[in-house]
Amino acid sequence: MNGVALTLRTLHHGEHTLERQLLNAAERHHAEHEIHHVATDLAHWSHEHGTLLADTAPAYGLDLSGPPDHPVYGLMTSLREKTADMLGRRPEPGLLLLHDLRDLYLAAAGNSLYWEMLAQAAQATKDTRLLELASSCHPQTLRQARWANTMIKNLSPQLLTGS
């Protein structure tokens, strides 16, 4: 397996992980309504990226049979949301939120760097298809990271100093 194929596989995994992390954060911080809704929206981007990567994979001798379909909204989800709502009266989940946002930022930044590598490799090998894929997905990955960064910036003062 060459470097591009390896990177595609790693990024595919990274996008799937980010999707899961975003959905987990959305559940865990159900009482933080903006986090809940936007994280859910942004998970769709990673889901799409995963699908597009899987579609591209065969051309590079890879089989990325794709992540499972959208995680099912089931009992556990509902339980986690209920827990979040009950804990919503306490300040401690605020610290957990900042921690989760930091993880999301790092995961998105990690994916972004893989997109960067693929785009560079695509340019070097004049691989139009790969360049188009990277050009269409990479901006959304950067937007995911910027979102996490903005939320951390806006929420930290109150969540770290209020108690």
Partner: protein
């Protein structure tokens, strides 16, 4: 009662039954004729009025100028001011009757304090002592971040500015916002995104010239009835404009429109992207304008390339041909006026959609000349002032919190250090403040002139936040509102006609409201309460001088003028004397433009330069901030920003259990939570009780009929209402949001175990990540029969958007 007099109109028109009165047609480019509307107390004639005191409307954002009639120290009526540029003498039904609210017998006349679980009367000394003690204790124990201020769009400029100085430099908290968050924050944000800075580009006089007027989610006939009269008079005159109306309800504007689009709730971005697609496809683009005055066009063109009318038709559930027809009108217009309101601002992807309306004007070069303008409307009368004065999540004078020069400039004006003014984060928005209160990091919330226990989404949550023991809630209002009933301290305030101040409408027109009568009992002007608080807290500037040095409304106005100098909302050319002598004047008003400024951006874009702009912008989907360095490289010359956005599906979609889209809104006869209009007999009688609108198709499918009692339920809660069958789009249920509980036995909440009366029992806690405006118009609901009606129609108005559906075969 002499319901109508003056002009060359009939002397008796019932303005409840005929809200827009008689027509005074005029031709394109002509001056709107005068029509003077008068409403006096029964038996009082104009000759018997002792004094006419200048004022402007406080029951909507149109800024209609009027004079209050005073006799024997009492208000006895109102008369529209004929010389004013905004209304040329006309008044809407709420203004003709609403002045009576101040005289209600149940006005608050003394402060109330919670003792042993009950609110009991006290004197001002005790009340202010409590307030100051709690503030000082929290500052000492928990810091300024434990104190929040939630104000309104219904005070005066002088009051917001004083509150802004008190909160930002006195307390030093980032937590100051207005309920304008619910009505106008998307307007402000959309202007900041497109033009770098707040400031209404257009003018109401654009109605006089436009050949196409497009209303996006704007039920103008009910929210700004006098502006609608202006449109109606154009429609009756020579060379009338053609209307495009986007609204899921059969509003009066929809009925007069050449093209009416009634999309699914939450799909505005898809629709607007398709309209832009068509404008670009048919090359109705003003390329010279785009080149000279904008950045970002290519990105927009790429973004909407696939957004064909057929694509949007599937998402929005409107015919592709209708989208094409609308695009044809917008693309062919020579003088295009667009107006935008809550159908966009309170819906899904609010800012993204409002910005696409700006884009329509930027790509078509439709700005800064007669008839070519955008009106990103406001909901409340002084929402514009809340924004200007920094009480709506911005720094005063449209200063940029991320720009250290701007903060330093503000610090110089206030004579404090820049570190005194919190600017490490954006000023907190209302929904975040309630979240901080829920979480327990905000411990005091001072609420002025607004009623969150009825107006915020998901009321059971809001009541539980306000009810917390650990939160000290102060409510400053005219009546014992639902929110006041949950407060720890209630301060009785004076209102319109009982105090002096200025307010600015949605087209930047500044009016003076003078005091006409004394407030009841011990009620005090909001300004006096803030000044008293500042004095008792002994807020000082960096040299030990008084931070708030003004003593009354006029000196507060003079202080604000200094703060506004050199900024887009420059008031330096205005004075109380000038406003008293003449009538409304539009800002900016300066030495160079002493008569004010009719339109912004007449000669290019003026406030988007990186050094001048109010905001560097946000990601239209995620709300992530654009960093200063990015903005500088994107827009070094300060042009308008054509910002594209992708459509995202609404966050709460319909399901088999909740099969209808729920949307909430307003009616002509009420304002906000009926605090005033519900106490005015004729307005109350015009719309006395909650109703639920559904289409004939949905009614038939559920075996429901006009007047049946139903329960409308969402995952958050339920309300009981009578069914009104209208021509609203299928698949939707509409609830007016005005109704609460102050005039029910429970006072501030639904009866135990029973569905409520406030539409916001059902709405979702979700907001636009960009403007932070809550989503009131995109949720999913079920409607279920509780009790058959007896044939009596629902208690809903019949000449507005809630008019009964035309019966089959009636030919209409």
């Amino acid at each position: 009662m002499n319901a109508f007099a003056g002009g060359d109109s009939p002397a008796s028109v019932d303005r409840i039954a005929e809200p827009w009165g008689v027509r005074t047609p005029y031709a394109s480019g002509a001056e709107w004729p005068v029509r003077t509307d008068v409403q006096l107390y029964p038996g009082v004639t104009e000759e018997e009025v002792e004094r006419w005191v200048p004022a402007a409307s406080l029951l909507h954002s149109n800024g209609d100028a009027m004079d209050i009639a005073v006799r024997d120290g009492r208000m006895v009526g109102v008369r529209g001011r004929a010389v004013d540029r905004v209304n040329r003498g006309r008044l809407g039904p709420k203004d003709l009757f609403g002045w009576q609210a101040g005289g209600s017998a149940d006005r608050l006349t003394r402060p109330l304090v919670r003792e042993g679980g009950r609110l009991v009367e006290c004197d001002w000394e005790h009340a202010m002592g409590r307030l100051v003690d709690r503030s000082k204790r929290l500052l000492e124990e928990r810091g300024p971040g434990s104190i929040g201020f939630y104000t309104t769009g219904q005070l005066f400029l002088e009051e917001y500015y004083t509150l802004s100085v008190v909160a930002r430099a006195g307390i030093g908290t980032a937590h100051l916002d207005g309920n304008t968050r619910l009505c106008t924050s998307t307007a402000a944000e959309a202007l900041k995104e497109s033009f770098g800075c707040d400031g209404q580009p257009g003018s109401y006089t654009d109605v006089d010239h436009a050949d196409v007027i497009a209303l996006f989610g704007h039920n103008m006939a009910e929210t700004q009835p006098v502006l609608w009269m202006r449109v109606l008079d154009r429609l009756e005159g020579a060379a009338p404009p053609r209307l495009v109306c986007v609204d899921p309800r059969p509003t009066p504007a929809a009925r007069r429109a050449a093209v009416h689009l009634a999309p699914r709730a939450g799909t505005n971005v898809a629709l607007l992207n398709a309209l832009l697609h068509e404008i670009i496809r048919t090359d109705r683009v003003d390329h010279d304008y785009v080149r000279a005055h904008t950045v970002g066009y290519d990105e927009l063109a790429a973004r909407v390339e696939g957004c064909t009318p057929r694509w949007a038709a599937r998402i929005c559930d409107v015919p592709a041909t209708a989208i094409e027809e609308a695009a044809e009108l917008l693309g062919g217009a020579e003088r295009l006026l667009s107006t935008v309101l809550q159908g966009v601002y309170q819906s899904h992807q609010a800012t993204a959609a409002a910005v696409q309306v700006n884009n329509l004007h930027l790509v078509r070069g439709m700005l800064g000349r007669p008839g070519a303008g955008v009106l990103q409307m406001n909901g409340q009368p002084s929402a514009q002032n809340t924004r200007e004065c920094g009480a709506n999540g911005d720094l005063p004078g449209f200063r940029n919190w991320q720009n250290d020069e701007h903060v330093a400039d503000l610090a110089r004006i206030w004579n404090v250090t820049p570190q005194t003014i919190p600017h490490h984060t954006p000023p907190s928005h209302a929904m975040q403040m309630f979240r901080y209160a829920e979480q327990g990091t905000i411990r005091m919330l001072w609420i002025t002139g607004t009623n969150p226990a009825v107006s915020l989404p998901e009321l059971s949550r809001i009541r539980s936040v306000l009810r917390q023991d650990r939160l000290f809630t102060v409510v400053q209002d005219l009546f014992l509102t639902e929110t006041a009933q949950l407060a720890d301290l209630v301060l009785p305030a004076a209102t319109w006609g009982e105090k002096t101040g200025t307010l600015t409408n949605a087209d930047r027109t500044v009016h003076l409201c003078d005091k006409a009568v004394e407030p009841p009992g011990e009620a005090r002007p909001d300004l006096d309460i803030f000044l008293d608080y500042a004095a008792r807290m002994d807020f000082r500037d960096k040299d030990g001088g008084l931070l708030v040095s003004w003593k009354d409304a006029e000196s507060a106005f003079e202080a604000w003028k200094l703060c506004s100098a050199g900024r887009p909302c420059d008031y330096t050319g205005l004075s109380y004397d000038r406003l008293r002598e003449g009538s409304g004047i539009q800002w900016p008003c300066t030495e160079e433009a002493p008569d004010g400024t009719e339109r912004l951006y007449t000669d290019g874009i003026t406030w988007a330069h990186p050094d001048l702009c109010e905001e560097y912008g946000k990601d239209l989907v995620t709300g992530a901030s654009v960093e200063p360095v990015e903005y500088r490289s994107l827009n070094p010359d300060g042009k308008a920003i054509v910002k594209a956005a992708e459509y995202l599906p609404p966050h709460e979609d319909t399901t088999p259990r909740f099969p209808l889209q729920l949307t909430t809104g307003r009616t002509l006869y009420h304002f906000h939570t009926r605090t005033k209009t519900g106490r005015v007999p004729r307005l109350d009688a015009a719309a006395p009780e909650l109703w639920a609108e559904i289409s004939a198709t949905e009614a038939t499918a559920r075996e429901l009929a006009e007047g049946d009692l139903v329960e409308v339920t969402t995952p958050r809660g339920a309300v009981r209402a009578r069914v009104r069958v209208t021509a609203i789009r299928d698949g939707m249920v509409f609830l007016p949001f005005h109704y609460g509980y102050w005039d029910t036995p429970e006072g501030h909440r639904p009866p135990d175990g029973t569905a409520g009366r406030a539409a916001n029992e059902t709405t979702i806690t979700d907001w636009d990540p960009v403007s932070k405006q809550p989503v009131f118009k995109t949720a999913a609901a079920q409607v279920r029969l509780l009790e058959r009606g007896d044939g009596t129609p629902a208690p809903a108005p019949t000449v507005t958007a809630s008019a009964p559906a035309p019966t089959p075969g009636s030919g209409s």
